[in-house]
């Protein structure tokens, strides 16, 4: 089971995988855009993004555009490295099985 251990528990949920995938190929992405890309609810995105922020995989920026608050996300270097090794682990798993 050694290989499965390399898979990161933080990325187990589909929503977190989605957030990380979107951020890997984009710079800052705001809350509404992320929500519509992943097709999830406000609360769902908020809780998963907080978890990723706590793990320091993503960076959260809150600002005001006019009077509206705007939240944006960006992947951190740690997040990039961790997500890449998660992807590599997934890939290895397939190679081992096939």
């Amino acid at each position: 089971m050694g290989m499965i251990d390399q898979l990161n528990k933080d990325f187990e949920s589909r929503v977190r995988l989605g957030i990380m995938s979107v951020l890997m190929v984009n710079d800052w992405v705001d809350f509404t855009e992320m929500k519509s890309l992943l097709n999830i609810t406000d609360g769902n995105l908020a809780s998963h993004s907080t978890a990723l922020e706590k793990a320091q995989y993503i960076e959260v920026k809150k600002e005001f555009v006019g009077k509206k608050p705007k939240t944006s996300y960006r992947v951190t270097n740690l997040g990039r490295v961790t997500f890449n090794s998660h992807l590599n682990a997934l890939e290895k798993l397939f190679k081992a099985k096939n």
């Binding site: 995988l17 995938s21 979107v22 890309l37």
Partner: protein, 204 residues
């Protein structure tokens, strides 16, 4: 377990694709842009004929003012027509696939498309100003091709092949000045229709 990881990987791939590329561009938009260019081009040919001008034989192409206005109107109508249908089919496609339209990848694509187009536009105005209108057809084809190649990173990468074709056509037309209308009809009409049909079949 394997099943779950397989789904994870395809989910990752699709999220990366959806979030970084504008994939709602419909092939039908291309077909209609091509059709309007084709019809417009043929209409211009007829217009010239009615005014007793043989496009390929007239050595100095001096048109009357009313004819010039008519040509400009035709150009604007073609543009509005193509633009309108481009938007209609794109909105329809994104509704069907349940994708948001106005995202950062859309804006990125439009900006990267616009840079060479605006420069090309200014270049053409300068050509007109210096009375080198004969170079306008090659210039529009070249800059349009470069714009498509430039926008390739933010939409279907197939669009770069259309871009390359426009560039090649533009280069060829540089050596056949005076046949601009024909190259326009091929480049903006025929190539768009072909591209639109290919993309439409591929991503249906």
């Amino acid at each position: 377990m394997n099943q779950k990881h397989q789904e994870d990987l395809s989910h990752i791939r699709s999220m990366m694709e959806r979030s970084s590329r504008f994939i709602s561009l419909s092939g039908l938009s291309g077909v209609f842009a091509g059709l309007s260019a084709l019809i417009g081009g043929l209409y211009v040919c007829q217009l010239l004929e009615q005014n007793g001008i043989n496009y390929f034989e007239a050595s100095s192409k001096e048109f009357s003012l009313s004819l010039i206005y008519e040509l400009i109107t035709t150009g604007v109508v073609i543009f509005v027509f193509a633009f309108f249908f481009g938007i209609v089919f794109t909105v329809r496609k994104s509704r069907k696939d349940n994708l948001p339209i106005w995202t950062s990848s859309t804006k990125n694509m439009l900006i990267h498309l616009a840079i060479p187009l605006v420069v090309g536009g200014v270049f053409c105005l300068a050509l007109l100003y210096h009375q080198m209108a004969v170079l306008i057809a090659p210039t529009t084809l070249l800059f349009y091709g470069l714009a498509l190649v430039n926008a390739e990173k933010y939409t279907f990468s197939d669009i770069k092949y259309l871009g390359f074709c426009e560039i090649i056509l533009g280069c060829v037309s540089l050596f056949y000045l005076g046949y601009g209308l024909i190259f326009w009809i091929i480049g903006f009409g025929v190539l768009h229709i072909l591209y639109g049909l290919i993309v439409f079949k591929k991503y249906k």
